[in-house]
């Protein structure tokens, strides 16, 4: 008999709320009153969780993992799912920054939009966002030059700038558009975007792969056109091209690869003249 925990914000939260205790790891096997007495921060005030959220235990007959069902106006609620290693978190509406930071396992689903630093420094697990996500998806904390090292982030909407910054491994899928500098300083892993991107994708990458099915305004001068590819692998499934395949970033002696869908990028057709020469 597994318990589902329903956590509902009591009011509109304007001040920034740090709620890194809203994770299966922190709540597992605690009594209701114990959960309510876990501490969160509202601005510079330390508050028991129970003061800002209504907590309810629901017996659920499904035997799957501990699930936290988080509801209400959560735009300014941050660090939900921080360092999470198992279980599930389901979020009804929008949610704040650092959702699932340093995640090590389990699954998070957001029906609305997510803030910046979604899945920051993630090691494993799955994050699914039905809406949009902010900037720095999967990026590491400031100063670190190794980012997401595993796991999977799937954003059905669009994402902001520097998605997959310093990415080491793992998979990021964006059904919507990718902002500026997608895959910047990538060292491994894969980013797939079905929508369009802004410029400078793959800037500074040394390895890893960025696959774009939509339009790319331009390719950096430090990337070189290699060849045309029919399809490519993303995680354990294949995505059909055909693609222009670029390698770079030469400015970093990089071996990263950009796969740009030919159909949506006829402004790049001029590079085909390099095919005969090579």
């Amino acid at each position: 008999m597994m318990v589902q925990v329903k956590i509902t914000a009591k009011k509109t939260l304007i001040l920034p709320v740090d709620a890194e205790v809203i994770t299966p790891d922190a709540i597992d096997s605690l009594s209701l009153s114990k959960v309510e007495s876990l501490y969160v921060w509202e601005g510079n005030r330390r508050r028991p969780l129970g003061e800002l959220f209504d907590v309810e235990f629901i017996d659920s007959d499904e035997d799957d993992a501990l699930t936290l069902w988080v509801r209400g106006d959560l735009k300014s609620v941050r660090r939900i799912g921080s360092h999470m290693s198992f279980g599930r978190i389901l979020i009804d509406g929008d949610v704040g920054m650092y959702l699932g930071e340093n995640m090590k396992g389990g699954m998070i689903q957001v029906k609305g939009n997510a803030g910046s630093w979604l899945g920051s420094d993630m090691n494993a697990g799955l994050i699914e966002v039905l809406g949009d996500a902010g900037d720095f998806v999967g990026a590491p904390p400031r100063g670190l030059t190794r980012g997401m090292s595993g796991g999977r982030i799937h954003v059905k909407g669009s994402v902001g700038n520097e998605c997959g910054c310093w990415m080491d491994d793992g998979v990021i899928i964006v059904d919507g558009d990718l902002g500026l500098f997608g895959g910047i300083h990538m060292r491994g892993g894969v980013i797939l975007t079905r929508g369009n991107t802004l410029s400078r994708i793959g800037a500074g990458m040394v390895n890893g792969k960025v696959v774009v099915l939509g339009n790319v305004p331009s390719i950096l001068p430090s990337f070189t056109f290699e060849e045309i590819r029919k399809s490519t692998r993303v995680g354990n499934d294949r995505v059909e091209g055909p693609f222009y395949m670029f390698s770079g970033d030469l400015a970093e002696d990089g071996k990263g690869r950009l796969y740009i869908a030919i159909s949506e990028n006829n402004h790049l057709h001029f590079i085909e003249k390099y095919l005969e020469v090579k």
């Binding site: 590491p140 904390p141 400031r142 100063g143 670190l144 030059t145």
Partner: protein, 566 residues
């Protein structure tokens, strides 16, 4: 408020007290013969080890280079922080802690005096700003002279006395405590991206060799009667085969020595490499320690490696660029007009790395193969070879063969085969360890009120919750390691400042500096002679260069005698 510490086991090597039960009385911040115990606050130190507060001769805790390291590495602080408390300001730790945290962490470990070993004259105002915000400990800073254009020009023309007058003015004007020399001539060459190879290489554009710079500044140091000898970071530091340069450096000043040591080779581990390249790097500890055992004009400090992630920072610009090349980590370079340079590069020492493991053995071999503990002081060149909070693990390695054995099991196999460390059985006694961490640094720095518990000494006392009579240093080193990390009591200027790891009061230590005995009008003529060249070499006005004593929150000038002006 008087203090009476009773029933403790006292170690005070300078006053030849080695593990005696005795009481210590404190009045007005000084150690006294006795106090009437009715008014005094009594501390029952039964079964506890008592020694004077720790003195760290070389630790980068304040100044432009250190702050560049803090700025460079937010990732170094994000998971190690201190929350604001009744007596403490909040801050961050990591390999380069913020200033408040630095003071508290030294105090918790029973250290009460720390020397910032490298500040460029033109930015020493910044260093003093930071030292003012470093609580509890007494402190001072050494001023960099080895690549200073005026020093190079004076010594090239062998004008030693003029150079002495200039050095004395700088120490007085910028509130410095000692003469620091880093890769003499090499950092000036780095102004063009070059370096010097050995001590007889000519420095481009200046026509002088490192040998002449070192000898010149040692003469200046003696002439001025400065309390500490010249504090030297050798040329070719961190380069395989550099032990030859270190031996040449120590030899080149033999004739200048009289009673006291004339030269201090700092973080000597980095200067004791044999071999042609990284693959056949081996320890030169035997050669270096043999020389030091046979001479009395040189003191050293270890620069012991700790297997951890840390931040290297030194005025040796070309050396830091080399570390950047090896590690590929982010690199900061800070060249300073007409004076020196600097660099900061994060670095991780790994036990499985042949080079790092060999470096680790070199530091310990030096300490164990140099017979006299007064000649080799404990240090990690914090944070270059490791953070100061790891000093207790070095203490364990020194006092216990078993501690060394346990760590040796984890190091690189090739290092294990080649190193002398595994067959060194020497285990330092508690007294010898105390000499290396309090007494010899105080003596080398000329701090006669520090490093001992005799009557008249500063009441800087560390009390550790371990009974040296019953706990064996060799086998039960882990207990000593734990005890040394958090003093039961740390007493500074007669006040209990830390208790079992908790800071118990707000306290600001003194900043020591050398007040020149030179008559002011003598400086007047020096300054007029300097003014024209200063305007050409620098981009600030000469009159904005000195620092007013009021800029030091707790100024403690130290007076010296010199033949030049008496």
């Amino acid at each position: 408020m008087d203090l009476l510490i009773i029933n403790g086991v006292v170690y005070d090597p300078i006053n030849s007290v080695n593990g005696e039960r005795m009481d210590i009385a404190v009045h007005n911040g000084k150690i006294v013969g006795h106090v009437n115990d009715s008014e005094a606050k009594v501390i029952d130190a039964s079964n506890m080890l008592i020694m004077s507060g720790g003195v760290d001769i070389h630790s980068h805790i304040a100044g432009p280079k250190v702050n560049a390291g803090r700025l460079l590495r937010p990732e170094d602080h994000v998971n190690d922080f201190e929350v604001k408390g009744p007596f403490i300001r909040s801050g961050v730790g990591g390999s380069v802690p913020s200033t408040f945290t630095t003071g508290y962490r030294y105090a918790r470990m029973g250290y009460t005096t720390v020397m910032e070993p490298a500040t460029p004259p033109i930015k020493t105002r910044h260093t003093h700003d930071e030292l003012n915000d470093t609580p509890i400990i007494d402190k001072a800073c050494y001023i960099l002279f080895g690549n200073n254009w005026f020093v190079l020009e004076y010594l090239k023309d062998n004008r030693v006395e003029d150079c002495a007058e200039y050095v004395s003015w700088i120490l007085d004007a910028l509130k410095g405590y000692a003469v620091k020399v880093v890769n003499p001539g090499g950092v000036e060459a780095w102004g063009w991206g070059e370096n010097v190879r050995g001590i007889d290489d000519v420095v481009p554009n200046f026509g002088i060799t490192p040998r002449e710079i070192i000898r010149g500044l040692c003469k200046v140091n003696t002439l001025l009667g400065l309390p500490h000898s010249v504090h030297l970071h050798t040329n070719n530091l961190g380069r395989p085969g550099n032990y030859q340069t270190t031996l040449d450096t120590m030899r080149c000043v033999e004739d200048l020595a009289d009673v006291d040591p004339i030269l201090h080779i700092t973080h000597c581990q980095f200067s004791s490499f044999k071999g042609d390249d990284w693959t056949n790097l081996t320890s030169a500890a035997p050669e270096i320690s043999d020389y030091v055992n046979k001479h009395s004009h040189v003191t050293l400090d270890m620069g012991q490696i700790i297997f951890t992630e840390t931040t290297t920072m030194t005025a040796d610009g070309p050396h830091e660029y080399m570390i950047h090349g090896i590690s590929g980590n982010k690199w900061v370079n800070l060249d300073i007009e007409a004076e020196t340079g600097g660099g900061v590069v994060p670095y991780t020492y790994k036990p499985k790395s042949y080079v790092n493991a060999t470096q680790w053995t070199i530091g310990l071999e030096l300490a164990l193969m140099i017979d006299d503990p007064w000649k080799i002081m404990l240090s990690t060149d914090h944070p270059n070879a490791g953070p100061f909070v790891e000093y207790p693990s070095i203490m364990s390695w020194l006092i216990s063969k078993y501690a060394r054995q346990k760590s040796l099991e984890k190091v690189n196999k090739k290092t294990l085969r080649r190193s002398h460390l595994s067959d060194l059985d020497r285990e330092l006694s508690l007294s010898e360890l105390i000499v290396m961490t309090r007494c010899s640094p105080s003596k080398a720095l000329g701090l006669d009120k520090k490093g001992h518990l005799g009557v008249g000494a500063d009441a800087d006392i560390a009390i550790f919750d371990i009974d040296p009579m019953r706990v064996d240093t060799s086998k039960e080193y882990l207990k000593y390691d734990r005890a040394f990390r958090r003093a039961a009591y740390t007493i500074k200027d007669g006040i209990v400042v830390a208790r079992n790891g908790e800071i118990t009061t707000r306290h600001t230590g003194k900043t020591l500096w050398i007040k020149s005995g030179f008559p002011q009008e003598a400086f007047g003529s020096l300054i007029n002679e300097l003014r024209e060249r200063f305007e050409r070499y620098y981009t600030i006005q000469l009159d904005n260069y000195p620092i007013d004593e009021s800029c030091l929150t707790n100024s403690k000038p130290v007076f010296t005698q010199s033949s030049l002006w008496s």
